[in-house]
Each structure stands twice: as C-alpha cells, then as structure tokens.
Symmetry: C2
Subunit: 362 residues, 2 copies
Amino acid sequence: MVLARKHLIKVAPYQAGRPIEEVKRQFALRNVIKLASNENPLGPSPKALVAIKKNLHLINRYPDANGFYLKRKLAQVFNVSLANIVLGNGSDELIDIIVKAFVEKDEGIITSEGTFLEYKIISQVHGRKVTTVPLRNFKYDLEAIKKKINPKTKVVFISNPNNPTGTYVTQYEIEEFLHDLPEDLLVVFDEAYDVFIDVDDFPKSLELVRNQKNIIILKTFSKSFGLAGLRIGYALAHPQLVRYMEIVRQPFNVNFLAQVAAEAALEDKEFLKKTRQVILEGKNYLYVALNKMGLAYVPSAANFILIDVARDGARVFRQMLKYGVIVRDMQQYGLKDFIRVSIGTKEENERFIRALKKVLQY
Amino acid sequence: MVLARKHLIKVAPYQAGRPIEEVKRQFALRNVIKLASNENPLGPSPKALVAIKKNLHLINRYPDANGFYLKRKLAQVFNVSLANIVLGNGSDELIDIIVKAFVEKDEGIITSEGTFLEYKIISQVHGRKVTTVPLRNFKYDLEAIKKKINPKTKVVFISNPNNPTGTYVTQYEIEEFLHDLPEDLLVVFDEAYDVFIDVDDFPKSLELVRNQKNIIILKTFSKSFGLAGLRIGYALAHPQLVRYMEIVRQPFNVNFLAQVAAEAALEDKEFLKKTRQVILEGKNYLYVALNKMGLAYVPSAANFILIDVARDGARVFRQMLKYGVIVRDMQQYGLKDFIRVSIGTKEENERFIRALKKVLQY
C-alpha cells in the first residue's frame, strides 16, 4: 500500500464551523442560526448577485486565468497596478501559495498562538518548521516574535485584526517591528476583517507595500461582501513577489462566478456601509448584554467577540447547539474557557444572548 | 528583497486557452468562438443552473467543508462509499493534493510527453523530480514508462483519454502495466474525458479501485456537465489513500455553488446524452471535412481532435484568431506542426472548417 509522506501523520486538520444543515439534521431542529464562521449576516452583496445571474450561462467556459477584469477593478480601488495583485481561491489558498513560493525545505515560519490555524496547518502540510509565540493580553506579541526570528525564518504571519481574539497591532507597533528585520524576511498581514476597523491607529499596510518592503497583504470578499461560499481572496504585494506567487498559482484557481461577483461587489458601497453599521450596532448590543451578565470578553476590532465563559467552552458550544445556536468552541486555539461568537443581525444577537443565559443558567 | 525558492525560476507556467473577451478586445471582433479548452459547447447543465439559482442567497456562508450532499450523490452514482471520494477545486487541485500527500522531497513522478501539462508543472512547483517518456503513435507508451520506474518513483500520471492527442490506453494494456508494479507506487488515471468514450476496451478503472489497488481516478464536471467555470473535480480511491489526501486538502477548497451545481448535474442524464450526441456527430463531421482537405489527424476518444497542419501550428493558431476562431497551439506540448480543436456545435465546427480553409489557402 502507498504511504503518505511521514510528517503528514502529525498534522491536526482544521475543524470548520458546523454547517446549519448538519446541526438541523443532528438535533431535528427547524430553525438554526450560525454565528460560528464570521460570515456576513446580511447575506451576499446584492450587486454581486445581479452580476452572477447575468453571467450564469457562461459557466461552461473556464475562468479567465489572469482574472483581468477583477484585477483591473481592484487596481482602481486601491490605486495600485495589476502587477501588485494575486487572486486566490480564498485567502487560505494564498497562504499555501506563499509557503510554496518562498519557504525552502529547511526554512520555517513564525506566527502567534491563539490565531488563525491555517498558517500553522498549511506550513505543516508542506513539512516546514512552525514556531508559535504566546499571545500577550490576547494580542500578537510582536516583540517576542521578533526575538524568535533566526536566519532560517522566512515568513511571519500576522492576522490583523486577529482571529479569534479581535485584537489588532497598531501602526506604531508595526513600524517598530519592521525596523531592522532581516532583508529576506517576508511579513504577511492577513487583513480579512479590515472593513470592520473603527480605530485610527490601524496600520497603513498598503503604504508599506508601496514602499517596496517585503510585505504581503491578504484580503478577502468573504466577510465584507458576503461571498464566503464563492471563495475569493487576494494578495497585494510588490510586483517581484507577485511574479513568484504567479509561478506557483494554478491558472484556474479562482472560479468564474467568484470573479464576476467580486468585481460587482466592489461597486456595492451601500451594502458595505450597511454591513459595517449592523456589525457596530450588534457589537455594542452584545457588549452591553455581556456586561450585564458579568461575563468578560475581549474588545474586538472585527465582526466577532471572544467571550470568557469561565467554564469548559466546548461544553457551552455543545449546549448552545441544542437551542439552535452555532457558535465556535476555542479548544483548537488553546482557549479552553472561551467561545467565539460572530456578530449577527439584531434578532440573531438577541437569540444568542437568550440561549447563552439558559446554558449558563442565568 | 525576498527570493523565491530556487527551483521555481525554471518552471514554465501553464498557458491557458485564450478567453473570448480577450480576443474580441485584441482584434476588435464582435463574434468570436472558442474551440480551445475542450469546454461543453451546449453551455452548462440546465439542472445545475436551476440548483445554483435556488441556492444563490446562501453564498454568504462558507461551503460545507465535508461536501456531504455532493459526495453522497457521487457515492450513489458510482456505488462506492463517501470514504472513497475527495472533492477538488477542479482536477488541477487534486493533482497538487496527490503530489503533496504522497511524493517525498527525494522522490519523483513519471508521465508522458505530449500530455496534460499540469502533472509536470505541479510536480516541478513542489521541487519533485519529473520523468517524461515520449509518446508512441500519439499514445502513452506504458511499456517504456514501466521501464523508467525506479525505487524513487512514487506516482505515474496517465491522462486517459490523453489530452491533447485523444488516444487512450486499453483495459488489456492497463492490466499488463499494473502487473508486478512496486507495492508503494501510485497510478493516477485522469479520466476528464471519460463521458465521450465510445469504445468497448476502455479500462474499468473503478474495478481496480474496488480491488484496493494503488489507484486514484480523477474525474471532473468541467466537460461532461459544462461546469468548467465553477471548478469541481473529484478523486475516487481506496479509503486509506483518501484519508491522506484529506489531511492535505484545505477545508473550503470547493465553493458552495460548485457543490450544489454538481449534485444537481448528476441527475441531468438528458443533458449528458445530448452532449455525447453533439460531440459524436461533430467529430464525424470534422473527420469527413479534414479527410476532404487531405489533412492528417489523430482519431480521438475525447471531445477534441489533434490535427497535423503540416506547418507551424502556432502561426495557424494566430491566423485563425483573425477570423474569430480560437483553437489551441501545441508548442507547449512539443507538437509544433499541430493544432488542437475542441468539438463545438454544428455551426462552430462549420465555421472552424471555413476559417481553416482560408488560413491554409484551400
């Protein structure tokens, strides 16, 4: 029998948020809400839906391998060139492309504990060395990360704002961090939640890219424009870095409907505005409700909140399922007494609080 | 500046078929037909389109990471278990998953010259050794491939029917080939064009999978059901092989619309029948027309024909563009005097022949 590559046996695969249909099947429930995967609670961008319907008859054709129209639109929006952009089948695939393109077999990556798990999993799948540094007050500890950098370190992955804690590193902290880094070290800012930012000191990462630093920014249409199901993310970087990533990228990695939907969504400023408003209002509602319950949580710059339930979070997660509310248990992230809840619509947030009160016996 | 991994510099990226929109832009043409990427000329499966429209409002949710409903349907169709199936973002991604899962850094793959280029490109991207064996009468030379197998060979990729020649290896030839192979060697049959087969001696590869051999079959919805733009392929293999591939597969690799479209398409027997009919009729028409022109071609078991134009094929390809007909030049495949034409609708095939006559000055 064929054997897999030896190091793979040790990889713990990613556990996705439970799908609504699956929970309905398991508990024989008719009405289930999912606040587990930081999805857009308003649904997809209406302009994206119009574009999809208009192009549906063309899905027998392979997608444009160059993603010309979407990249042209992105280039306009960010005032960059097409040569600064790589499209991915979600940001997940771009992480894979980065590891493939830049990390040699005897080299490794550094990231934080308590962060998006795919940096670690994807690097492990490639058999690359992974170093993780503990969070400090639920935040990336850039000083400690910097101390761990050695000549074999090729990439530092920074989730900013950080999933699942909702904290962010500031412009000042990033400047300090980037100062005096090795010349051949790549820093990746995964800004999947950037549209929810409502602070002034968030890093201006695009300026760093413009200044030709060894920086890659990852962004996605999953949360902001409600296109998680279509899989479309992108990287912004110096053309030299893009060139390498393009060698590795498969030609038809981004499906055609994702390309047309994303292009149209970028015009949907109305939807983005409404999304931000719902998330900010929902966040305030949840803060107040959690305060009243005396539960600690981590203030969030994103569209989710990490809550300290002061008992086994996996158990709370399972009990919430019975009330038809899917949240995320944090065991995989090493945060055992926590759950993460995505901010939903007003009704979803209220239902979440009602279920949480029952489960915690308030 | 960050440098890419050294071996990447040598990789020649895949050149996709020219998109219709791009050719319209370049030559200021209004009516362009594409017979370059072996797409379904009838468009997408109507049942798939209905399923997409019905599920469109749900694309703000991440896809089911387990692909439960689609795998259940595939398991019914092929009379296998869910544990025999891996879903991919097109077969391209499954090739990547296979190389990642099974080929260690000092190991390599074997395939043919004049075959689908991604086996070679993807293996090269991973820095794996690639051995290619010349075609024999435009066909995979399994005897010569067998002779090249050594203890470091981990995977043999066989495109069957072969793209771009349209030839196939038979049940008998496969049995001969599989006899006495090393125990830890994996044989991958890429059957992207299987639905167009109209011969009796095509290998019963699924029986080989059932007999627990080291076999992986790749299939796709791109051609048969007209879903190339959505990106959905799948692998059928022994559960032990599937388990390894699942460690490597990213959870959200297959988008949600691809999953629902593919599930519905499997019910669309009417569309599949019509597709086969149009391809077989078109093939006969093209054979007759090419015979009349005195042009040699390779008889094809698939939905495309490799034509010997007896002069620089790349030049013929470029001249055909001016008439609004996109075919495929074969330089990348080492077949300089050839073009490959995908079989289209009746009107498309006739237009192709008219343009070819003008270009070749008949």
